[in-house]
C-alpha cells in the first residue's frame, strides 16, 4: 500500500495551475483571487497560469477566467462532475497533474478545496499546506514559500515543499487580490476528457439543501458592522443592520454571537469563520480574541466600540470608543443619515 518514495525530476514540472471552483455554473470569488495571485508568482517564475475547470456545461466560464488573467483553461466537462463529490474531482485533477506536470497547484480553502486537495496530495504523494494567507517565490531556490496561521492565529508559519512537485496549497478566500478584469480577453481552452469519471462516484448526492440568506456575503461587503457578545442578545442586532444599511454594508459577527445562536454561521468573521477586508469594519461589543483579529485586521479602516478599555480589539482599531455599543450605535446611525441627507441637499 505504501510505496517507497521515488525521487521526482523537479525540472519536468512547469507552470502554475489553479483549481477554478464553480458551483451551480458560477465561479467562486476565490477562483479569481487564485488567478490574481498566481499571475504575480508567474512573473517571478516566467511561466503561465492555467485554470482547471471541472463541471458539466460550464464552458461559458472559460471567458470569465480569461478576463481575470488565466493564460489557459483546461476544461473537464462530464455529467459526473456536475455536483461536487470528492472522488471524481480528485481523479480528474490527479490525471491533469500527471499529464501536464505543474510546478505549483493551488486550491481555494473552501469546504470543497479543503476536502479535495488532501486527497490529491495523498494520491500523487506531494505536500499540501492548508489555509495559506501568504505565497511567494523564494529568490534563490525558486521554491514556493507558503505562509499560514496556526494555533488559532497566534503564530504564523512559513512552509516549503522543496523535494516534491507540484507544490500544493489551499488558500484562504478573501485574502488574495484578484486582477481588475480585462474585458474581451481570451485564452487557450484545452478539453480534457476521461472515459471513466462516473466509475469513481462512490458517494451519492440525494438532496441539495440551499441555505437561504437574503443578506450580502460578508466577503463581498465594503462595509461590515459586526456584533459580539457585548450586544447582549439577538434582539439588538437590528440596530447593527440599520447602521449597516445606512452605510451600504451588511452585518457580521464574532464567534461568540454565532455560538450563542444570535446570528447565522455564515456571518462569522475569524479564524474558524471568514476572512474579510472591507473598506470599513465597525466592531461593536467585540473584545477581539486573536482568532477574531486574524479574520479582519486587514480591513482598511477599523472602528471599535467596547465598554472594556483593555479589550484587545483596541490594539488594531484606527478609531476606538470606550462605551456602550447599545447606546452609541443608534446615535451614530442618526449622524450618518443626517450627514447623507445634508450631502443630498447640498
Amino acid at each position: 500500500m505504501w510505496k517507497v518514495v521515488r525521487k521526482m525530476n523537479k525540472e519536468d514540472y512547469k507552470g502554475i495551475f489553479v483549481f477554478a471552483q464553480q458551483v451551480d455554473g458560477k465561479l467562486e470569488n476565490v477562483s479569481y483571487e487564485l488567478i490574481g495571485k498566481s499571475k504575480a508568482l508567474a512573473k517571478d517564475l516566467g511561466c503561465e497560469v492555467t485554470a482547471m475547470l471541472l463541471g458539466h456545461n460550464v464552458e461559458p466560464l472559460c471567458k470569465q477566467l480569461a478576463k481575470y488573467g488565466a493564460d489557459r483553461v483546461i476544461l473537464a466537462d462530464d455529467p459526473a462532475l456536475e455536483v461536487y463529490t470528492t472522488e471524481p474531482y480528485a481523479y480528474v485533477i490527479t490525471e491533469i497533474i500527471k499529464k501536464y506536470k505543474p510546478e505549483i497547484a493551488l486550491y481555494g480553502a473552501t469546504a470543497i478545496g479543503r476536502d479535495l486537495a488532501p486527497r490529491i496530495s495523498a494520491r500523487i504523494h506531494t505536500g499540501l499546506t492548508a489555509d495559506c494567507t501568504g505565497l511567494e517565490i523564494e529568490a534563490e531556490t525558486k521554491n514556493l514559500l507558503m505562509t499560514r496561521p496556526a494555533f488559532g492565529g497566534n503564530i504564523m508559519a512559513t512552509i516549503a515543499c522543496a523535494d516534491f512537485r507540484p507544490q500544493m496549497a489551499t488558500v484562504r478566500p478573501g485574502v488574495m487580490q484578484r486582477q481588475s478584469p480585462n474585458e474581451g480577453a481570451t485564452c487557450k481552452v484545452e478539453r480534457f476528457s476521461l472515459p471513466d469519471v462516473a466509475s469513481h462516484v462512490n458517494v451519492e448526492v440525494l438532496e441539495v439543501i440551499k441555505k437561504v440568506s437574503t443578506k450580502m456575503d460578508i466577503q463581498d461587503a465594503t462595509v461590515l458592522v459586526s456584533g459580539g457578545r457585548g450586544m447582549g442578545g439577538p434582539e439588538n442586532f437590528g440596530m447593527l443592520e440599520e447602521l449597516a444599511d445606512a452605510l451600504g454594508g451588511t452585518i457580521s459577527s464574532s464567534r461568540a454571537s454565532v455560538d450563542a445562536g444570535w446570528v447565522e454561521k455564515d456571518r462569522q468573521v475569524g479564524q474558524t469563520g471568514k476572512t474579510v477586508r472591507p473598506n470599513l469594519y465597525i466592531a461593536c461589543g467585540i473584545s477581539g480574541a486573536i482568532q477574531h483579529l486574524a479574520g479582519m485586521e486587514d480591513s482598511d479602516v477599523i472602528i471599535a466600540i467596547n465598554k472594556d478599555p483593555s479589550a484587545p480589539i483596541f490594539e488594531v482599531a484606527d478609531y476606538g470608543v470606550v462605551g456602550d455599543a447599545l447606546k452609541i450605535v443608534p446615535l451614530l446611525t442618526e449622524q450618518v443619515k443626517k450627514s447623507q441627507a445634508e450631502k443630498k441637499n447640498a
Partner: protein, 259 residues
C-alpha cells in the same frame, strides 16, 4: 459493526496566550483536551453504538501523554484504545501523519472510520481525507449529521451556502464537525473502568510502512520559519458620552471620505 475513531490530543488554544516580550506561546498551565471535532466524532460513534450496537475503537497518534485523551474516550464509552507512539513518528506533517494512521488502521477490522474535520492547533482538515485516500476508501467531510441506513451511512454534509444529503456504502470515512452533537460526559463508573483498562501501544515496528512515509523524513513539507504577526500600530481611543462618541465617529468617517 466496527467503528474506529481517530482522535488528537491538543492544547486548548483558547487558553494559549502570547508572551508579549518574547513573542512565543505560553503553553505552561494550558490544559490538554480531546480536539473538539474529534470528540464530536467519538460521540457520533457512541450514539451509533447505543442505537445499533457497535465496537468502538479509539486511535491516537502522539506522545505517551496522549494516553490521557484515550482514557477519557474509554470513560465516555469507547471499547478499546490504541496509542500509536514512537519517536520515529515525530515531526510528521499531514502526509506522514495520515500514512502512519492509515497503516495502523489497516491492522484493524472496520466498517466506519470517523475523524474530526480539523484540529484546533493546526486547523488543516487534511488528515481525514488523506487517511481515506491511503486506504482507498470513499470519504465524506464536514458531517453535521450522521445516520445509519442498512450497509450505508447517510451524512448531512456542510458547505458554505448549502448542505448535501449524501449516501455512501461502508466501509468509508467521515470527518465530523463539532456542530454534530453535544458530547457526553464521562460517567463515574466509566472513569473507574477506564483506569483499569489497558491501552494498546503500537510502535514503529508494529506497523508495516516504509521509513520514507513516516515522521519528519516522510514529510514532504517543512516549516522554514515561524513568527508572530507584526501588530498594526494602535490608533486613537477616546472615552466620551454616547452622543459625543457618535459625533466623533461620524467626523472620523468624514475624514476617511466614507461619509
Amino acid at each position: 459493526m466496527n467503528i474506529i475513531v481517530s482522535i488528537k490530543q491538543v492544547p486548548d488554544t483558547n487558553e494559549v496566550k502570547l508572551d508579549q516580550t518574547t513573542g512565543t506561546l505560553i503553553r505552561e498551565g494550558v490544559p490538554s483536551i480531546i480536539n473538539p471535532d474529534d470528540k464530536a466524532g467519538l460521540e457520533a460513534a457512541l450514539r451509533l453504538k447505543d442505537q445499533y450496537g457497535a465496537h468502538v475503537t479509539v486511535l491516537s497518534m502522539g506522545p505517551p501523554q496522549a494516553s490521557v485523551a484515550l482514557r477519557e474516550a474509554l470513560a465516555m464509552g469507547a471499547d478499546e484504545a490504541i496509542l500509536v507512539t514512537d519517536r520515529k513518528f515525530g515531526g510528521a506533517d499531514t502526509w506522514a501523519t495520515s500514512s502512519t494512521l492509515a497503516a495502523a488502521i489497516s491492522k484493524l477490522d472496520y466498517d466506519l472510520i470517523i475523524t474530526g474535520r480539523q484540529a484546533i492547533d493546526g486547523d488543516t482538515a487534511q488528515v481525514g481525507p488523506q487517511i481515506a485516500e491511503h486506504l482507498s476508501l470513499p470519504n465524506v467531510s464536514y458531517a453535521e449529521e450522521i445516520w445509519l441506513e442498512g450497509d450505508s451511512i447517510k451524512v448531512k454534509r456542510q458547505y458554505e451556502d448549502r448542505y448535501h444529503i449524501v449516501r455512501v456504502k461502508m466501509p468509508c470515512l467521515v470527518t465530523a464537525l463539532s456542530e454534530l452533537n453535544e458530547p457526553r460526559y464521562m460517567t463515574p463508573g466509566g472513569i473507574f473502568d477506564a483506569w483499569k483498562q489497558d491501552i494498546t501501544e503500537w510502535h514503529r515496528d508494529d506497523l508495516e510502512i516504509d521509513d520514507s512515509n513516516i515522521g519528519l523524513k516522510g514529510s514532504p513539507t517543512r516549516v522554514k520559519k515561524s513568527f508572530t504577526k507584526a501588530v498594526k500600530g494602535k490608533g486613537t481611543v477616546v472615552t466620551m458620552d454616547p452622543q459625543e462618541s457618535a459625533n466623533w465617529l461620524a467626523d472620523r468617517l468624514h475624514d476617511k471620505f466614507i461619509l
